[in-house]
Assembly symmetry: C2
Homo-oligomer: 616 residues x 2
């Protein structure tokens, strides 16, 4: 039995990759862009999240399973998972900002969870209440029992790392042992329809050093793609079960399930040194990133099945781009970064973080988008609870996204930097501090509004700075460095300058849905044109070719940098049949087009929005 890793204090606390994650408290965000977002997450979102879980019945389910009161389970079969994601968020938040009241909430809720667990280790309040012992694992394709277990385990690891409490870890170990006793080649051969258990078991292995958890994670990864789910009469593609993970060349089906599985498989590859599996995951990530990812880093083109589309199928209006998929994408990219040390994964994390993920939460911090399209028409009618035409909402019937956002923001510090024996790597630029051995680095920056990052070290240190692929003309201490990769610098004073000239980007011609259009970016931010800032109807606004895009400060939306360019208003609705010779001509008046960061859209009156602008 191997010993637990020493710095097991962040998500994916591996020691086996090309890069080592830093432990809790070694990288901390103290100001700039992210600190107020983390503060709102801790002060508002997490407490109100607990209220929402109470109101929706998730907490009541666990109390009932614990024998407290009487009644029936309420809500979806995976209701427990949202409680566990909340517990994980609360743990990271406590680690970031210890608060006794929060700790008490965590302990009280943990006690309920522990009491709900069955004697033999099984735990799933909804299944216990609805189907009893006989109902266990009977409908694993849809019952999400492993999914709930995975989130419980992740919460337990965060809890012991951040609070020192072992209470939830004891529950997690009992549950994981129960899974180990139940599933395997000579036991029950089945997999959960919704992955996450794989990542969780590897992390439990990292925390406890018990190899059985890694073995079980590996078994769950390798069990997929051999007809288990088809055997139950379900579509294997939807569940990432059509092809064995190590033979897959792309991602397909339900996007959150697909990236959670891939992240867990990467964890397995990291810990077992399975290079074949890691190479397959590289191919899959590259294919996803180059053919199935939105410019916002959003993942999942289809509402139907909440799924990845075909190659280059990336409609902006009907983008599903679930907030949870961006989070899963970040988790996968982070593990790929740890495994390979390649900067492109840091680039991917940055794009997902500032755009596809961050659009999922309001500026106020406690209203959420489930679905993150790149276009909303002015006449869009909200036909269901997830429709972006509603604007962000305080909670959802299927509430996976809100607590997922909470745990991501509360643990964000863990994604900033890594170390190797001879250097510290900085992947994401945020005002804060990074400790490496006895040396402390102070990072000062107003990124992403300003491209200057100043790093001061208490002793001469080797630092490797990620230079995003978009950052042509970047300099380190005045010296030009290549975009795309890491620039190494040594000393006590390091100044990185990333040029933030607005960029007008087109799309690969195979992306049919945005042909003839451009998007505007500045630094890591993708911009959007919102009706609130534009007099002309955004539904038919065009950008003039070669129009320069100029940036300026503003008081809008907590002080974002706005971008302006010359455009042309459309001629609006033409009555009658839409398909005519010459129908595509557009001859409106010249207008100024104003764009704001995509993440900040829908914080005012909901209206037309578009990331991709036609260019006449």
């Amino acid at each position: 039995m191997s010993a637990p890793p020493e710095t097991s204090l962040s998500p994916a606390a591996t020691t086996k990759g090309r890069r080592r994650p830093l432990g809790l408290g070694q990288a901390t965000i103290t100001g700039g862009f992210w600190a107020p977002r983390q503060a709102r997450n801790g002060a508002d979102a997490i407490p109100s999240g607990q209220d929402q879980l109470e109101k929706a019945g998730n907490l009541q389910n666990l109390r009932l399973a614990a024998g407290i009161g009487e009644g029936e389970a309420i809500g979806p079969v995976f209701a427990d998972s949202d409680v566990y994601k909340w517990l994980e968020a609360a743990a990271w938040e406590y680690g970031r900002n210890p608060d006794e009241e929060l700790l008490q909430r965590i302990r009280d809720l943990t006690a309920v969870v522990a009491a709900a667990q069955r004697e033999d280790g099984y735990l799933d309040s909804v299944v216990q209440l609805r189907y009893g012992d006989e109902g266990r694992y009977q409908q694993l394709v849809w019952s999400h029992e492993h999914y709930c277990a995975g989130h419980l385990i992740q919460a337990a690891v965060a809890q012991v790392r951040c609070t020192g409490d072992r209470a939830l870890l004891d529950v997690a170990i009992k549950l994981a042992d129960h899974l180990g006793a139940t599933f395997g080649d000579d036991k029950t051969v089945d997999v959960d329809g919704h992955p996450v258990i794989e990542m969780a078991l590897v992390e439990l292995y990292r925390e406890t050093g018990t190899p059985a958890y890694l073995d079980l994670a590996q078994w769950f990864v390798d069990a997929r793609g051999h007809g288990i789910i088809e055997r139950h009469g379900h579509s294997p593609a939807y569940f990432s079960d059509r092809v064995p993970v190590r033979r897959a060349t792309t991602v397909e089906g339900h996007s959150v399930r697909a990236v959670y599985l891939a992240a867990g498989a990467t964890d397995v590859a990291l810990e077992t040194g399975d290079t074949e599996l890691l190479e397959a995951l590289k191919v899959q990530f590259d294919h996803m990133w180059s053919t199935k990812t939105y410019v916002t880093g959003g993942l999942g083109a289809r509402w139907d099945g909440e799924a990845f589309g075909d190659e280059y199928e990336l409609p902006p209006d009907r983008a599903y781009a679930e907030t949870c998929a961006a989070i899963g994408g970040i988790q996968w990219a982070w593990r790929m970064l740890l495994a390979t040390g390649e900067a492109s994964y840091g680039d991917a994390i940055e794009r997902m973080l500032y755009n596809g993920f961050l659009a999922g939460v309001s500026l106020g911090g406690s209203e959420y988008f489930y679905v993150n399209p790149l276009q909303l028409r002015g006449d869009a009618y909200a036909d269901n609870g997830r429709s972006p035409a509603h604007g962000r909402r305080g909670w959802f019937d299927c509430a996976c996204c809100p607590p997922n956002i909470m745990r991501t923001l509360a643990s964000l510090d863990g994604y900033l930097a890594t170390s190797t024996d001879d250097a510290v790597q900085i992947h994401q630029y945020a005002a804060g501090t990074i400790k490496s051995g006895d040396v402390e680095l102070t990072v000062e920056t107003n990124y992403p509004w300003d491209g200057t990052v100043r790093i001061t070290a208490t002793a001469p240190t080797a630092v490797e700075l990620r230079i995003p692929a978009w950052a042509e003309g970047a300099t380190v201490n005045g010296r030009s460095v290549d975009a795309g990769g890491y620039a190494r610098a040594e000393g006590t004073e390091i100044e990185l300058v990333l040029p933030l000239t607005p960029r007008v980007v087109g799309a690969d011609p195979r992306i049919d849905a945005v042909r003839g259009c451009v998007a505007i970016e500045r630094g890591p931010l993708v911009y959007a044109v919102e009706q609130a800032d534009n007099a002309a109807n955004v539904d038919d606004l065009h950008l003039l070719p070669e129009a320069p895009v100029v940036s300026g400060t503003s008081d809008l939306l907590d002080g974002v940098t706005v971008l302006r360019a010359q455009g042309r208003a459309g001629t609006g609705h033409q009555p009658g049949w839409s398909f005519r010779t010459g129908a595509a001509d557009s001859t409106g008046a010249d207008v100024e087009v104003v764009a704001v960061p995509y993440y900040a859209w829908a914080n005012r009156e909901i209206g037309a929005m578009r990331v991709w602008l036609p260019r006449t």
Copy 2:
């Protein structure tokens, strides 16, 4: 009680509109484009359809409900409806081509249906078997009991008109009386989630003259849009229940449900003379046609909810465009044509018929598409049974489309022509005969391959010929006539020439999904570029600007006219991130682009297909 209309022998046999439909046998297709399709429908599709209904369990459900054998209901709750659509198709087919064996099949199956009916008139085999008497109408939003009843009534009316048998009509009357005794202001106030009962009850009124059926149809139409479905906790938009029909200004939600309801409401407006309702339906049809209809006449932009999208949301790749929606669209347009006499509805029928509808069935006649996209990528993976990437299929778990196609083809003669007191109107051009009083018109044409239509009358007759809006330069007896409307001609010899020059059409600039692209049409046919005919990869083929499109005969696909133009091959997949400055440039080799009629796609090896071609 009004007397049954005298010529009650075709679908929507109204005498109240601006145009009167012709009765059975008054318009007959005898050759040309449609006759072999009708022949295959009768010889292959209808018999094999009965086999499929046997295999899928639909017929067994009815036998079980009739007390023949023992077992449980199989399949979806609306399984009976497919049987009734088949019975309707078989009845029209018998009317077209009397065949004793078919008549016996109809009679045998009708006897089972009659035996399955409960004493009090209730009939729904699946509900009877699964939920018993207590389960009746308990989940009307989803149970489709009125939907099944509607299809039964339509089949019964077709049966009595075409075979003279009253057996199914007796069942239908008992069932309609049961509905009338159950639903209404002072009875059960509820509506079915899936309309069709409205059209059916009006037709039963036309057949029997019993005003109660018209009253009940009107009640079902007017009951919508007042919160009935929301009361059950469902999305009112999906079910066309958000706004009262007479106040709606567009179509929304599930596209088949929406157009069936609108067609039924048009029937009600026709028979009651409700001009307010008819005006509202005109607005709705116009809005659908100008903002929510594909160039193929396909209806329904979204897989999610099988629904109409927002205005101008018309993605070619993810078009749902269900075959049943095209059929419902034709039914609605036909009723609007009867009510108003406007040629634009005839144009709409033609577009839907030759494209969105006809693509739903293979050239062989008994394989079907449920979903009719305007683009399929070469790498598309079939992730579910309705995916067009499978190619057409012999049947579906939800088998609404195949028998719907059968009944449409078998009753197609009914849509060709109408009469007024002083003229015959010809709306669709097919080789055949049309009787008007004592005069018989013979129509000779090879339309749509050839634009010449020769009409010979046994005595001088006034004929009004629909000149499609696309037919600039049309002539009647050598005289130029305006495109879009009817051209009147009198005599015994009339020659219409519709110019079939290929047309290159663009799309309204608000249709974002096909920006920078063109579609090619010739006559009523929309064309598609299929991989089978093109050496260059269809996924990134471009058309050269101003390239002339030339037509030519071929042996392909039962002898379609093919179109050719100069294009450019794309450069294929560019590895890496897709969103770059200048990313949209395309620099492949010049190639010939070959296009075939859209309806004929997917009759060879399934591969890439696109209706909309980028134009560099």
